[in-house]
């Protein structure tokens, strides 16, 4: 390219007046088995992309993206679960030495070390060697990390009660009549904590379509049943009667 003295420019700009011809490089200029990016190599990449896109579209069409019921932050019975790629972190915090007094190990030390090591990998692994087998420490640590992540994710998946979670998250269409005096009592007592604001259950079972008579419900509320403690209901009999009638009315 012509440079320096005698150079002509377009107007008062710095763009040279002499234009580079818009011609692609000849194929003979690619030595060996190398090839031009456009169009030769890009076509291969895009073909892979097109196949990938088809699979991706099939996935979106065949699996509807999940949507649970509208958030109710007061529902204490709900078992939370992060998105799957955070599961290993979530599982890590369930272990004794990563929780309680040691929670810092689980939340800061281990993730911090892992992320820091990943970020600074070029300075931790400084040898010019590139083959995985020639740098056993780096390869070994990465494999160890991979195995731990896989194991933790796996553990998290098998210990999670998916059916119960699906039940808890379901969108409920049958609306409970929240103006019923029985619901006021339901809300005022501790019932809502376990049975949920929609009576659909939480840590306790669903109260919709129990098929129980008011008398039976009154008895359970006073004496407890299963995991439900006795004297869960605190109040007078008139209110209890209203509550029990309200609950026994709830049909599926």
């Amino acid at each position: 390219m012509h440079r320096g003295k005698g150079m002509k420019f377009v107007g008062d700009s710095r763009v040279p007046a002499e234009r580079k011809p818009n011609v692609p490089k000849d194929y003979s200029e690619y030595p060996g088995k190398t090839e031009a990016f456009w169009p030769n190599f890009l076509l291969k990449e895009w073909m892979v992309g097109a196949v990938f896109l088809i699979g991706y579209l099939i996935l979106t069409v065949s699996h509807e993206s999940p949507l649970e019921r509208k958030a109710d932050p007061t529902d204490a019975g709900y078992i939370p679960l992060p998105d799957w790629y955070f599961l290993f972190l979530y599982q890590l915090l369930k272990y004794k030495y990563a929780a309680g007094d040691y929670v810092l190990i689980g939340t800061i030390v281990i993730p911090g070390l892992a992320f820091g090591a990943l970020l600074l990998a070029p300075w931790l692994d400084r040898s010019p060697e590139r083959r995985p087998s020639r740098r056993p420490v780096a390869t070994g640590l990465m494999l160890l990390a991979l195995i731990s992540i896989t194991y933790l994710t796996w553990e998290s998946v098998v210990t999670h009660d998916w059916n119960k979670a699906a039940q808890q998250g379901k969108i409920i269409t049958s609306k409970v009549d929240k103006k019923d005096p029985g619901y006021e009592i339901f809300k005022g007592q501790s019932c809502i904590g376990c049975h949920g604001s929609e009576l659909s259950g939480g840590s306790g079972p669903s109260l919709i379509g129990t098929g129980l008579k008011p008398e039976e419900i009154m008895k359970i509320a006073r004496k407890g049943r299963g995991a439900m403690p006795a004297n869960a209901f605190k109040g007078n009999d008139a209110d209890l009667k209203k509550l029990a009638t309200f609950i026994s009315k709830q049909k599926k």
Binding site: G11, W38, T60, S65, A71, F86, P122, I171
Partner: protein, 223 residues
């Protein structure tokens, strides 16, 4: 006609060398799947970029219907998923794309790691790549809250509680993220802003740097 427009612009801005450099650059044999089938491992980065483009597009379209407000967020997502034509597909693309982008990026990171491609002179590009990974995880975390359904709120609660355990800055980080004491209206708007403006801006800047560095240094040689 088009040619004339192109010439007019090219005369003034000299754009030909810019894209001819990209179009004509030599792609070496060892990354070409036509010569070595194992070269498919070099596709993961490109596929990550492809899904990122899909994520940006589907996100832009979803924002036409989504309302970042605790009263309307869930209703608007339910509406766009069940009432609007192709809503289930567009939301599906964004939902599954979020997972796929993590998978592809993970595979790309492993490819680069095990090939030792991060070594001199590509240290900086590796650092930028790891930062992109962090931004992507941040996008996943903030995006998870937006539908405002049960799992969204409770997963965010857990996430913010984890942030709270950090010594010294923990409580500040918690208040900053949730914008107050509870996970509520202000958390949602804050997460929305982070998810659609701040992190994507950071992502675009980092990706730009990533690509410029690749173009400058070329792909790492065969093992």
């Amino acid at each position: 006609m088009l040619q004339k427009v192109y010439d007019w612009v090219d005369e003034r801005l000299d754009i030909t060398p810019l894209w001819r450099d990209v179009a004509d650059h030599e792609v070496p044999e060892h990354v070409n799947p036509a010569h070595h089938f194992s070269a498919f491992v070099y596709c993961f980065g490109g596929l990550t970029f492809f899904i990122t483009v899909i994520q940006i597009l589907s996100g832009m379209f979803l924002a036409m219907y989504y309302a970042p407000d605790i009263v309307n967020a869930w209703e608007s997502v339910y509406y766009l998923q069940n009432q609007v034509a192709f809503g289930v597909i567009v939301r599906g693309m964004h939902h599954w794309g979020a997972s796929l982008v993590i998978v592809m990026m993970f595979l790309h990171t492993l490819r680069v790691f095990f090939q030792g491609a991060y070594k001199k002179p590509r240290e900086l590009n590796w650092v930028v790549g790891v930062l992109i990974f962090g931004v992507m995880l941040g996008l996943g975390f903030t995006g998870y809250l937006l539908p405002w359904d049960m799992k969204a709120v409770f997963a965010t609660k857990v996430g913010i509680q984890i942030a709270e355990t950090i010594p010294v800055i923990g409580p500040i980080a918690k208040t900053f993220l949730s914008s107050g004491e509870i996970i509520g209206a202000q958390t949602l708007t804050r997460f929305f802003a982070i998810h659609v403006f701040f992190l994507p801006a950071a992502l675009l800047a980092l990706m730009g740097a990533h690509f410029i560095m690749i173009r400058k240094q070329g792909i790492s040689g065969p093992l």
